[in-house]
């Protein structure tokens, strides 16, 4: 499991402007739906946006703190 604060810190390391919303899908804080709004996604297709997020969350995904992840990635303009 991971707290929303720790997850947000990981994201902001590569996307400092990110607004991060974390939803717990199973009550165990390891199956998460994460919505990220950042202008780092500007000009990137969905695949590359999600790759950016996966790279930012590489550590907590590899060590099992995050088991499953559903992602939404938008720029500020798109919200």
């Amino acid at each position: 499991m991971i707290t929303p604060d720790v997850l947000t810190d990981y994201i902001r390391k590569s996307m400092p402007d990110a607004v991060v919303t974390v939803l717990d899908r199973t009550g165990t804080m390891d199956h998460l739906k994460v919505v990220i709004v950042s202008d780092a996604f500007q000009g990137k297709n969905l695949l590359d946006r999600h790759r950016l997020i996966y790279q930012a969350l590489d550590a907590p995904m590899k060590d099992g703190r995050i088991h499953a992840l559903e992602l939404t990635a938008q720029t500020k303009e798109e919200c």
Partner: protein, 107 residues
């Protein structure tokens, strides 16, 4: 040099218009996201293949490298990588899925 497993993946991707690399089998998916992906394609009347890579760690690793995508399932349509339902759902909402599948299957 290309690994044999890379060639195997290429052949599989070419052989199936819709291919899901996931966890488990059609009758017994072992992961909620694999099941969701099957349900996504069940809505369309096109055949799809599910290949279990839980039992094939080398292939799983090769796929991750090839696609630069760390998670399962991984979906290929007509030879192109489309990620997972996080990508497919928004495509569907924009009306892009049906034309893509029609083009892939030629009907």
């Amino acid at each position: 040099m290309a690994e044999p497993v890379d060639d195997e993946i290429k052949k599989e991707v070419q052989a199936h218009k819709i291919l899901i690399y996931g966890k488990g089998t059609k009758t017994m998916p072992m992961c909620g996201f694999t099941r969701e992906t099957m349900q996504f394609f069940d809505k369309y009347n096109y055949p799809y293949e599910l290949i279990d890579v839980l039992s094939q760690p080398a292939k799983r690793e090769a796929l991750t490298k090839m696609t630069n995508w760390p998670t399962l399932p991984k979906v290929f349509i007509d030879g192109t990588f489309y990620g997972d339902t996080d990508i497919l759902d928004p495509m569907e909402k924009k009306g892009e899925m049906e034309p893509l599948l029609k083009k892939a299957f030629g009907r």
